[in-house]
């Protein structure tokens, strides 16, 4: 997310909107954005409806044993069609800002 924020201007220039999704509440996400300086939308999925719709549920992996999302990134085009999927196999290893920028460039 830090990488996305660093390249946010360039990504938006290419016409792509980054959106972050987690089980955190709107208030918790707001606090995170304030602390970390994130200025793109953060959505709250406490009931994991979107997370399950994308088959990303990681049962019991939260700090207090609650369900969370496994990390994943998608690029959706204006027709609502998936154009890029990144399912990391290691939650420490995430797509970098450069990767997002490269994928946004592919979208015509």
């Amino acid at each position: 997310m830090r990488g996305v924020q660093e390249r946010l201007g360039e990504i938006e220039q290419l016409g792509v909107r980054p959106v972050a999704i987690s089980v955190d509440s709107p208030e918790e996400s707001k606090e995170l954005c304030r602390k970390a300086g994130y200025t793109f939308p953060f959505l709250s999925d406490p009931n994991t409806t979107a997370i399950r719709a994308y088959d990303l549920l990681h049962k019991g992996a939260g700090a207090s044993g609650h369900d969370v999302a496994r990390p994943a990134e998608f690029l959706i085009d204006s027709n609502g069609v998936v154009r890029w999927v990144n399912l990391t196999e290691d939650f420490r290893v995430r797509a970098r800002g450069d990767e997002f920028l490269a994928q946004a460039k592919q979208l015509k």
């Binding site: 792509v16 496994r70 204006s78 994928q103």
Partner: protein
Amino acid sequence: MEQRRRNWHLWAGFLLCVLGLLSYPLLFVRWPVTRDVPWANFVILAVGLGLLISGLRRAYGQSQQFQGRIAGPILGVLSLAVVGFFCFLVFFASKQLPKAAGAPKIGDKAPEFSLRDTNNNEATLASLLAAPLPNSAAPPKGVFLIFYRGYW
């Protein structure tokens, strides 16, 4: 009888091992280049273990001059436990993710959703694809969905 010298290699080695573990979540995770392959932490841990070995050699090989025959093995075992824990985390624990075999694939229609943003306003995939970006009048060409684990 001459006082034996303090064996600081042992203590510095142990402290470096602890530092090698803690500096990952506290510092090196911030930059992809030190996050994806935690080489900086491996360097710190290797120096720590090197100092420990040197300290143990002094404690047993030059026991007339150096202390550490009791502290040495204890610090050595603790340091190995710290290094082992770090390796467990980065080589095993962080790879325990669900397969997500049913996740949307390239060419699939992305599932619609309706969630709340940080101002408690409703946001759907359709609305994210329709609303213009900041400093723009046109709707976006696309949306990156970035699912993450959350912090609380």
